[in-house]
């Protein structure tokens, strides 16, 4: 404390604004990049007044691998597995977005059977992503039990993936034009077993958290963002819906046969951490609904459209986006008519959503920053690409 700021013991308030002099308490600290609550290598520079956050600055790029540059040096087919490494907890969504984009560029469509299987796997992956989010987010806030429960149940999804394509995380499940693998014997039974298994488990998580006083105290009115701010900042996915904007790309601009299925878009009102939690819990139930309809109606037929062995899309550029678990995931691909994409731009939901962090934590406590980073649900592999 300087003499100037505190000439005597009583006048620590600014005589004009009646606010405390900030100089004495203002502190700049680094949170991360190696911090367990940042879910990867995110560094947040916090400007603090005691426990209160005055401002933040995100430093990202620690995991930058130059995916977009790599794409320019690979063929369309070769780049397909790379997209799994961006949002690695929802690899199937990444793959779906990329395959749809290249299919659009080639002007082909996957056959209906492939679409249905794609939808089943993508929605399973959405649930897996939300389960992982729930476990780690609750752990950050101090509830340890849900982590064990969610990882136990996520395992069932990963087992289905493993049986289907041999991989659990970076699955590379889809191919341009459809699927490489037919479903294994017993696929439908496994999926139906999972459909029966999960709803009571979701009840279990909700029993642990939804009415829990500590959980409510830590999440209600924390990290509030309005629907208007969400749109201005380009925030999409569960964050946007929790702020009361009823918008889901699966409904707004359906792709991959989503218009065949009946489901709701859950929304919140307050745009706080608690609402985002509720929205994601409801989304899991809606995903189950979609899977149930899809698995009961898988049509017969081919799983691969007629796609040339060597993929050479005509000259042109397209943008194709999907509703990934974290928001709008888009691919902007420019083709020069060769076997390699001229330019691939990935529009990652995590990257854009993370931009809202500053607005959401301003005036909150340091402990809330942890809660808000958790609720944005970022994956640094996707932020940095």
């Amino acid at each position: 404390m300087t003499d100037k700021a505190m000439p005597n013991a009583v006048s620590h308030l600014d005589p004009e604004t009646h606010k405390p002099y900030l100089d004495s308490n203002e502190l700049i600290i680094n949170m991360g990049p190696q911090h367990p609550a940042t879910h990867g290598v995110l560094r947040v520079i916090l400007k603090l007044d005691g426990e209160k956050v005055l401002g933040t600055e995100c430093v990202i790029g620690y995991l930058h691998r130059g995916v977009e540059k790599i794409a320019e040096n690979r063929t369309y087919t070769m780049f397909n597995p790379y997209v799994d490494r961006m949002d690695y907890v929802a690899a199937i969504s990444n793959g779906l977005g990329y395959c749809l984009a290249v299919e659009k560029l080639l002007n082909v469509e996957a056959p209906p059977r492939a679409n249905y299987i794609r939808v089943i796997l993508t929605e399973l992956n959405r649930i897996a992503s939300h389960l992982l989010w729930l476990g780690t987010h609750a752990l950050d806030i101090g509830a340890m039990t849900p982590l064990f429960y969610t990882f136990r149940d996520r395992e069932e999804i990963l087992k289905i993936f493993e049986k289907y394509c041999g991989a659990r995380l970076t699955t590379h499940a889809f191919r341009i034009g459809g699927l490489q693998y037919e479903t294994y014997a017993g696929f439908e039974k496994d999926v139906k077993n999972f459909l029966a298994l999960l709803p009571p488990k979701i009840d279990e998580y909700e029993a642990l958290l939804t009415g829990n006083r500590i959980w409510i105290e830590r999440t209600k009115n924390v990290g509030v963002i309005s629907g208007k701010d969400c749109i201005a900042l380009g925030v999409t996915g569960p964050l946007l819906r929790a702020s009361g904007v009823k918008w889901d790309l699966r409904k707004a601009q359906p792709y991959s046969g989503y218009s065949d299925f009946d489901f709701e878009i859950p929304i919140g009102q307050n745009g706080d951490t608690y609402d985002r939690y509720i929205v994601r819990m409801l989304e899991m139930r809606q995903s189950l609904r979609i899977i149930e309809q899809a698995v009961n109606g898988i049509p017969e037929g081919a799983i691969m459209a007629k796609v040339p062995k060597v993929i050479k899309p005509p000259v042109g550029e397209i943008y194709q986006s999907i509703e990934a678990p974290k928001g709008e995931l888009g691919y902007f691909i420019v083709s020069d008519g060769s076997t390699q994409p001229y330019r691939v731009r990935v529009r990652p939901p995590s990257f854009v959503n993370l931009q809202a962090l500053d607005l959401m934590v301003e005036g909150m406590l340091v402990a809330d920053v942890v809660a808000v980073i958790g609720t944005i649900d970022i994956v640094l592999g996707e932020v940095d690409r």
Partner: protein, 239 residues
């Protein structure tokens, strides 16, 4: 342009798609967008073999253009009340095209940022999905800057594109869409394009001392070794 419009017909997308109609009648955008969305949802017909036979004449032209493959779809002119309005206002500075059912506007650099502001305020494109660039080193105007916009009220997507020379700057859109902040920083980081009026234009993904702009076409992929790994970390990279 009439030839161009006919070409896609011969190429035969599995379902004929909606391109030729959009070209001739100038379907308003929302419809085109919705159409392309639902088209993907419907069961796809088996590809090429069932393709409708092209009109005579168009087939020959298409074959000559691309003998190896069925003729490629080409961008076709696109028109809507919105486009007409701005064409009257800006004349040749504006070109509206549509490719595979996706609409975009080529806009002259001098119309920015006013045109972007109009898109948001007048045309309700309230969500800036993405800002990116594409490098064409052989062109005089080397860079394409692309704004991908979406309108919540209209459920419509559009792309605004402009071309600039190397070294030329572009006005920042941060005051129009706050989300442009990080997106523009990334374009700066990867292409070295300066956005005038950006509040904090510095590298975002790469370290501050990085040399060069990786997504430019003349940036060799091995340059990273020479420029960064060896100099800064003092190790051989093994590439």
């Amino acid at each position: 342009m009439a030839e161009d419009v006919q070409k896609p017909a011969s190429s035969a997308s599995p379902k004929g798609e909606d391109k030729p109609t959009t070209g001739k009648t100038g379907t308003p955008t929302p419809e085109a967008e919705v159409k392309s969305g639902t088209a993907a949802a419907k069961p796809a017909a088996p590809a090429a073999p069932t393709a409708p036979k092209p009109v005579a004449g168009a087939a020959g032209a298409a074959k000559a253009a691309a003998p190896a493959k069925p003729a490629a779809p080409v961008p076709i002119p696109w028109s809507s009340p919105m486009v007409e309005k701005y064409k009257r206002q800006y004349g040749s500075g504006l070109e509206a095209l549509s490719y595979l059912g996706q609409n975009y506007l080529n806009v002259d650099r001098t119309l920015l940022p006013d045109f972007l502001r109009l898109m948001r305020n007048e045309e309700e494109f309230d969500y800036c999905v993405d800002i990116t660039a594409v490098h064409y080193p052989k062109r005089e105007k080397q860079f394409d800057i692309v704004w991908i916009l979406y309108s919540f009220p209209r459920n419509e997507r559009i792309r605004v594109k402009t071309q600039i020379k190397d070294g030329e700057s572009i006005p920042s859109a941060v005051s129009i869409w706050p989300t442009a902040d990080w997106l523009e920083r990334e374009v700066y980081d990867m292409f070295g394009i300066v956005f005038e009026g950006h509040p904090n234009l510095k590298r975002i993904l790469l370290p501050d001392g990085w040399q060069g702009y990786p997504l430019r076409k003349d940036y060799d992929i091995l340059k990273q070794d020479k420029q960064w790994v060896q100099i800064n970390l003092g190790i051989e990279s093994g590439q």
